[in-house]
């Protein structure tokens, strides 16, 4: 029964002793046992530890001791965040047996808030993908239609939340990896501003893009998760200082609507989306208009260059970041190597999957002598132009709205043979990462196959409070987010 409650409702019920954490965790583990063999959301689960932790929190509550913001709530984390317990595989054969010696900053924050970490979720290998199909460890399917993908790369987290296999989850978003799977699975996804949440202990893919955020049932839970994970951490040098972006209580003002809300939208970008997606977008704008918001037409002339720009810069960063996998310090080592260079080369060749190899190669190419100026430097300049488009839009409006994805969840295997086709699925989300901005995906309708559609809302850097309030206005007026899949 607890699986229908949001994380906030569950936390309040547990703190008020209406329900014990042990009961909530047992419910959750029962559902994982029943449904996860089909859904494949989890790479690992921690049944014993979770029940022990839940029991300890119940005791604290029984003793009248103060408890944290997520007291007793079963939470899942994407398996690219280091935990000092259990493996941290990153969805790769390279790290299949890796046990991190420390907790990521966000894990410390979850534990300090008394959350119960129930398991670690499947992802595209090293978070490189848009469908969770590049993971060699598990096959994740969409809870709304098991023949379709859950999206990616945080597909396991999205499927787990949508199916009630945890109350809330963490994901990471480098080019849309929280927003797109949230959209495909009919849940709420938040990618905070770059620098808002510490990346300490997040296995790196594209360092200037990666950002940890949440996948939740609703906007209030996204605000709750921000209260837990946001804030400065000296171990991440790009973590923003408190003085520049003070941490606030994102729940406090959540239900206060924005008066005279101006919404920028970009009609020229809509023809690329499916009719059902466009219809759901137009209906969402009508909802906002009925709430007193004013749509403002803007142009984003450099948006169509975002995918090309991203695949130069992100892969360049990946090629450098993944050089650490050398078969010596940790991770997979080939048994067939005779000398030091072979240890390096054969270990990587045997353990990395095709998409990871492709991105390392592409990034290495873009950084290599003779091509650096033409590709890498050029892309960095286009990144400036893309960021300027957003700055111009935010001069005219409080937020920007777009579809999350041009389609609803696609069929498993539909795009795996054509990497470029897969990349193009991220056309609406990637520019947000290039500009480092916060973005959300909220459920805004269903297509003719009963597959969820997401609405993307973007605001200026470090204005997650405003972003959450804008999203909450919509969820207070609609009930798309209350639908769940029949399992």
């Amino acid at each position: 029964m607890s699986e229908r409650l949001t994380a906030l409702e569950l936390r309040n019920a547990i703190a008020a002793k209406k329900l014990s954490s042990v009961e909530a965790v047992r419910d959750c583990l029962g559902r994982i046992e029943k449904y996860d063999p089909t859904l494949g959301a989890y790479i690992s689960t921690f049944a014993e530890k979770a029940l022990r932790d839940a029991e300890a929190i119940d005791k604290k509550i029984a003793a009248g001791q103060p408890v944290g913001l997520l007291a007793g709530v079963p939470v899942a984390v994407k398996d690219n965040m280091c935990t000092a317990f259990g493996p941290t595989t990153c969805g790769s054969k390279m790290l299949e047996h890796f046990h991190a010696p420390y907790d990521a900053h966000v894990i410390e924050q979850l534990l300090a808030a008394d959350a119960v970490i129930i398991g670690k979720t499947n992802l595209d290998e090293f978070a490189m993908g848009s469908s969770t199909e590049t993971s060699p460890l598990r096959k994740t399917v969409n809870p709304w239609d098991n023949a379709r993908v859950a999206g990616g790369s945080s597909g396991g987290s999205a499927a787990a939340v949508a199916a009630g296999l945890c109350a809330a989850a963490l994901g990471s978003d480098t080019g849309g990896s929280i927003r797109q799977p949230a959209s495909f699975c009919g849940i709420t996804g938040l990618k905070p501003t770059y620098g808002r949440v510490s990346r300490y202990g997040l296995v790196t893919y594209g360092s200037s893009f990666d950002q940890i955020g949440s996948l939740t049932r609703d906007v209030a839970d996204a605000a709750l998760m921000m209260n837990v994970i946001a804030g400065h951490d000296r171990r991440d040098s790009t973590s923003v200082a408190e003085t520049l972006a003070p941490k606030i209580d994102y729940l406090a003002d959540l239900n206060r609507p924005l008066d005279g809300l101006r919404i920028a939208y970009v009609p020229e970008l809509h023809p690329g989306a499916d009719p059902a997606v466009r219809k759901a977008f137009e209906d969402s704008m009508a909802v906002y208009r009925s709430l007193g918001a004013e749509p403002v037409e803007v142009t984003m002339p450099h948006y169509p260059y975002a995918i090309a720009t991203y695949y130069v810069i992100a892969t360049a960063e990946a090629s450098s970041n993944l050089a650490r996998f050398d078969g010596v310090h940790y991770g997979y080592r080939s048994g067939a190597a005779d000398d030091y260079v072979e240890v390096y080369t054969k270990s990587r060749s045997e353990a990395f999957g095709a998409e990871v190899k492709r991105r390392i190669m592409l990034g290495t190419f873009a950084l290599s002598s003779g091509y650096y100026d033409a590709y890498y430097l050029k892309a960095l300049k286009v990144r400036t132009l893309i960021r300027r488009d957003f700055i111009a839009a935010f001069e005219k409006a409080d937020c920007l709205m777009l579809p999350v994805s041009p389609t609803t969840a696609f069929k498993i295997g539909e795009k795996t043979d054509d990497p470029l086709k897969m990349y193009l699925a991220d056309v609406y989300t990637i520019a947000v990462n290039l500009a480092g901005l916060p973005g959300m995906s909220v459920p805004c309708g269903f297509d003719e196959n009963n597959l969820p559609i997401g609405l993307q809302i973007i605001t200026d850097a470090f204005t997650e409070d405003k972003l959450l309030r804008i999203a909450q206005m919509y969820q207070n007026a609609t009930d798309w987010h209350k639908r769940s899949p029949l399992l």
Partner: protein
């Protein structure tokens, strides 16, 4: 007119990437990377003559701290995931053969 990532270039990039590719991977990556690079070349139509490159999307500054030792991983923890280790060291195959060196 766009750049073809031919077999020779795939092999060169693979060496730089410390990857060893099979025959079928070389053929596959040559075709796929040509497609992707062809797509990427669309950014060349933009005039960026007067545009500064953006390495970081938000203002970043140097972060300093006092030069005081902080707790760090123990030798045991640092070696715990090593594929091969002994006596507190990582083990790798010989880098120099017996005849090299002075």
């Amino acid at each position: 007119m766009s750049l073809q990532i031919d077999r020779k270039m795939v092999e060169r990039v693979a060496v730089l990437s410390r990857l060893e590719l099979s025959e079928s991977e070389i053929a596959q990556f040559s075709a796929q990377l040509s497609d992707i690079v062809g797509y990427i070349e669309k950014i060349n139509v933009l005039d960026t003559e007067q545009v500064e490159p953006l390495a970081h999307c938000l203002p970043v500054q140097n972060v300093f701290r006092e030069d005081v030792p902080q707790p760090s991983l123990s030798n045991e923890q640092a070696l715990a995931n090593a594929p091969d280790q002994t006596d507190g060291y990582f083990i790798v195959p010989k880098i120099l053969d017996d005849n090299s060196g002075a």
